[in-house]
Amino acid sequence: MREREDEWTGLMRSAISGDDAAYHRLLKAITPVLRAAARRGLARAGQPVDQSEDIVQDILLAVHLKRQTWDSSAPFAPWLFAIARNKLIDTLRRRGKRIFVNIDDFAETLPGETPEPTASASEVAAQLQTLPARQRDVLQSIAVDSSSIKDTAAKFSMSEGAVRVALHRGLASLTAKLRDR
């Protein structure tokens, strides 16, 4: 446990000093832990666990956009788990409201067995469609087509700098949309 968390702290320090590969490894390493925590949290709240992937992606986006609030002389895990807890509570609160509204509105028409309206990890993908075209194209090219920044720049005849800006703005507005949905 201790070793794993020390490793995270080391990877995050490397990431902040510009090591993209270390950052990638860190995000890969924390994801299963976050997934397990999200499932546990949903189960404890008596909620179906099939939307845990949406929470995982929510947490990853927040980790990414708020990483400057991590104090690099402090351990990484408490910071990470504080964000994870916040996002889980946020989701439960939001879902609580939604469920309340659902029961109020559709109590008469609810069939015995309700399929979940959303499949796993669909929220980011859905919000992606609402972004401005340029940001959406860049995000899709890098995420879905796994193109590099360089290739993406060539594909859309943009400068690499413009691709980087569109990428970051896209991620930021995606997160804002997820928060305010």
Partner: protein
Amino acid sequence: MDTDQLIRTLAADNTYRTRPIGLALMLALLAAAPVSLLIFFAELGVRSDVMTAMRNPFFDLKFAVTLALAVAAIAVSLHLSRPEASLRGFGWWLLVPAGILVAAISGEMMMPQRAPMMTRLVGKNSMACMTAIPAMSLPLLVGALYGLRQGAPARPAVAGAVAGLLSAGLAATVYASHCTDDSPLFVATWYTLATAIVASVGALMGKRALRY
């Protein structure tokens, strides 16, 4: 989008650097300050006897109280912008201005006074104080919240309230140079009330604005 794709995308954005929160907060406050100063000079202005007033220690103490509030609230704001931070162990900073105020009141009690206590407490400028401090705080509060949006506070409403204290402290520092009531009793009553109003507005605004 599956999570591996998202992770790859985030890693591609690793080189993008956002401003440190301290800098973001400072720039936002600097941008908002002219609006507050404009309100001050258009509506109030520095009191005419300021040169004599400066020799009165109770005039100077007003600035000690308000500046201590502003500095403490800035420190606490920056601390609270971290997701794992809470007020515990850091909130006592906010007691420093209150401590100065208590010391000033006891100091004044020990000195011979021309006016009775209630007259000093009620003063002549209570209404001006109660409107000017919130009015001058508002632009600063909006600026502070804008800068603090870079952060990730665990409790946005608390962080917003502290941002309110911060902007009230700065606004009151400027307002103190207009106000002719120098008694610490006046400051403890009306400045505190005005500050509490701004802190409540900050909590309400922060609850929405500082969510992440």
